[in-house]
Amino acid sequence: MEHGNVLIVDDEKKFADMLAKRTELRGYHSEVCYDGRTALQWIKKHVDSVTLILLDLQLPDMYGTEVLTRIKEINPAIPVIILTGHGTERDQQKCERLGAYKFMHKPLDIDKLMTILEHIRETPEC
């Protein structure tokens, strides 16, 4: 795909699928994972090509924060946006400490996501 690879990790299948379809319509390749383990496996395979990861904090098999830590272990340069419906201030602080690129609340405005994606593409080193 032209713009980049976006990984959406969320156990809310409907939400993840829809978000994937919409990002694809906007020129990105989207991959959807419904749990943490699958997501990590995918990331290991595509560590060099992934542009952005959208990560929910509530996953059926592990905590979003744990997934975030592992991602940062694989490649600390991959930008990870935490996307949650439950986020508290404490969660936000914790995630930022762990190196999350942004902390966003559901429902998600697709245009905002696009702006962020464009910003990431323009400044690839971040």
Partner: protein, 586 residues
């Protein structure tokens, strides 16, 4: 000035009596019965303050009484001794005079009437009190006589005094009237003639002189002084007992040479009784000198003192009681006002806490709703995208599928808002039937996502057979919300929270909420129900949650207890009546 006085009056006015009017604050008061508190405070203070005063007063009375008694005894004893000495001297002097006369004159001269008259004249002059003189031979015949009574030639052989005189050398008789019908005393001296026969010189003494002697010792109207014989019959007139020869009710005294003083009563009036047997060194007399002093008369100084003392004590007691009453009222008022302020704060805090609970619920609801909203958002956005990004019309199937997704997500939101409404509505309703299972699952529904997210294993074990409770659902709900919120805050990720409901008996239901969280240190466990006490030092606990929960459980007529081990977990046990009585609910 007037304003100041009014203010100070107000502080001692029992304002606390109003506490029963503040029904809405009743359950927050520390003290329930201010009247009782007030009366107890007055009672304890009065008893403490007055006991020493009363004891000291009694001791003082007793000391004074004792010293007055001993003073009275001493005085009576002195008076009795003095009077005894005079009486004894009176008798002895006259006896000695007769002995002298007998020894000096001898039988021959004494039997001459002129001589005898001369001697009587001299005796009257020298000593006084003699009324006549007579000489008797062995057979009791009167041999010579000098005196005013014409009783010459009478035979006294059978007279008791004569028989007595025969036995002893000297004799002093009791007072008697004899032939002449005038009270008199006989002194007789027996003398042996050279022919070994004997004669008796007898003198009669009028009792006037003796009475005068005794009367001279009378001091004041409260003293009675008189002579009695050994059988208690009056020998001189007495103020108390009456005229001569009256039989007194005095106890027969045991013989003693010394003066004795004792306490007695005369016509139920306490008296001090001094007595002494009168005897000369040569002969005993039949007389006992009695001094009777009324105590009251002697004690008037002490009584006056005591009256003053009583006044002082009385006024002190009244002052002390007044001061204590005012102080107690003042203190109770202050206590009441502070308690009232505390109760008002507690009420305010409870309302605030209720708002905070609702806030927490709202947060839970927002979280719950966010997920379906996100789905709606993305799905609707996608439908829009379908038309914006691609020109060719989309197949109906996909659009309908997406719209179905939206509707399904809206349903989810609807369910949540229904739950919330049902939940919030309960704050208004007072007593209603509650299914504990449903209530617990309602409360937990707002923590469902948090539990999932934090991996907290929540188990609810309430049997289906548990009866419906009839209680204030809003309060019970708040209790559960508070305790479950607390538990959620206490547990770490991956811990357990168990909610167990059971019926103990037909009237009681027990709810146990136990977690495997951080636990509460032992030293803090006792304080956790106190307002403003928080173990969440680094967080923003107000320290009111458990205090209010405690109050709510009490309001529902139940009990709450807590066991906790630091690092192991905490277990709250609530027992509640199945049916709360309408009156019990505040």
């Amino acid at each position: 000035m007037l304003k100041k006085m009014l203010t100070s009056m107000k502080s001692i006015w029992p304002e606390f009596q109003k506490h029963k009017q503040d029904v809405h604050l009743k359950s927050f008061y520390t003290f329930t019965d201010y009247w009782h508190l007030w009366t107890m405070s007055i009672f304890i203070l009065v008893v403490t303050a007055l006991s020493p005063l009363c004891i000291v007063t009694l001791i003082h009375y007793q000391l004074i009484q004792k010293s007055v008694d001993s003073e009275l005894n001493l005085r009576t004893e002195r008076l009795t001794s003095n009077a005894k000495r005079s009486t004894t001297f009176f008798m002895k002097e006259r006896l000695d005079a007769l002995i002298f006369t007998v020894n000096e004159m001898g039988y021959e001269q004494l039997t001459e009437n002129d001589m005898l008259a001369e001697i009587l004249k001299n005796l009257k002059l020298g000593f006084g009190g003699f009324s006549d003189l007579s000489v008797f031979d062995e057979d009791g015949a009167q041999v010579a006589y000098a005196g005013p009574f014409n009783i010459k030639g009478k035979n006294y052989k059978c007279q008791p005094w004569f028989l007595q005189s025969l036995k002893k050398k000297y004799f002093i008789s009791e007072v008697f009237t004899g032939y002449r019908d005038v009270p008199h005393i006989i002194i007789a001296v027996k003398s042996i003639k050279p022919d070994k026969s004997f004669f008796i010189l007898r003198a009669t003494l009028d009792t006037e002189r003796l009475m005068e002697t005794l009367t001279s010792y009378k001091t004041g109207e409260h003293t009675d002084i008189f002579l009695v014989n050994h059988k208690g019959s009056l020998q001189t007139p007495s103020t108390n007992y009456g005229n001569i020869f009256t039989q007194t009710d005095l106890k027969i005294f045991n013989y003693s040479r010394t003066t004795e003083v004792s306490m007695a009563t005369y016509q139920e009036v306490p008296v001090i009784l001094g007595h002494s047997f009168i005897s000369t060194d040569m002969v005993d007399t039949p007389f006992i000198l009695v001094v009777q002093k009324k105590k009251a008369g002697l004690m008037h100084v002490w009584l006056k003192l005591r009256r003053n003392f009583n006044w002082t004590v009385g006024i002190s007691v009244v002052l002390i009681v007044l001061v204590i009453t005012f102080a107690s009222t003042f203190m109770t008022n202050r206590l009441y006002l502070i308690d009232k302020a505390k109760a008002e704060t507690m009420l305010q805090m409870e309302q605030n806490q209720q708002l905070a609970s609702i806030g927490q619920l709202a947060a839970g609801v927002a979280h719950e709703i966010n997920n379906p909203l996100a789905v709606i958002n993305q799905t609707a956005g996608y439908v829009k995208d379908l038309y914006s990004f691609k020109d060719e019309p989309r197949s109906d199937a996909e659009i309908i599928e997406n719209i179905d997704s939206i509707l399904e997500a809206v349903d989810r939101c609807g369910t949540i808002t229904q739950q919330l409404l049902g939940f919030v509505r309960q704050f208004d309703i007072k007593i209603k039937k509650i299914n504990l299972q449903k209530l617990v699952s309602d409360v937990l529904s707002f923590h469902k996502k948090e539990a999932e997210y934090r991996g907290i294993n929540v188990t609810v074990s309430i049997p289906d057979t548990i009866p419906d409770m009839e209680t204030d659902s809003g309060k019970l709900q708040q209790i559960l919300v508070n305790l479950i919120n607390n538990a959620f805050q206490a547990v770490d990720e991956g811990c357990c929270l168990d909610i167990i409901g059971s019926q103990i008996d037909t009237k009681t239901i027990e709810i146990v909420i136990q977690d495997t969280g951080c636990g509460i240190p032992e030293d803090r466990l006792a304080k956790i129900h106190e307002p403003f006490f928080s173990t969440k030092q680094d967080q923003m606990g107000t320290g009111l949650g458990l205090s209010i929960t405690y109050g709510l459980v009490k309001k529902l007529g139940g009990n709450i207890s807590v066991q906790s081990t630091e690092g192991v977990g905490t277990c709250f046990t609530i027992t509640l009546p199945v049916k709360i009585k309408e009156g019990e609910l505040v």
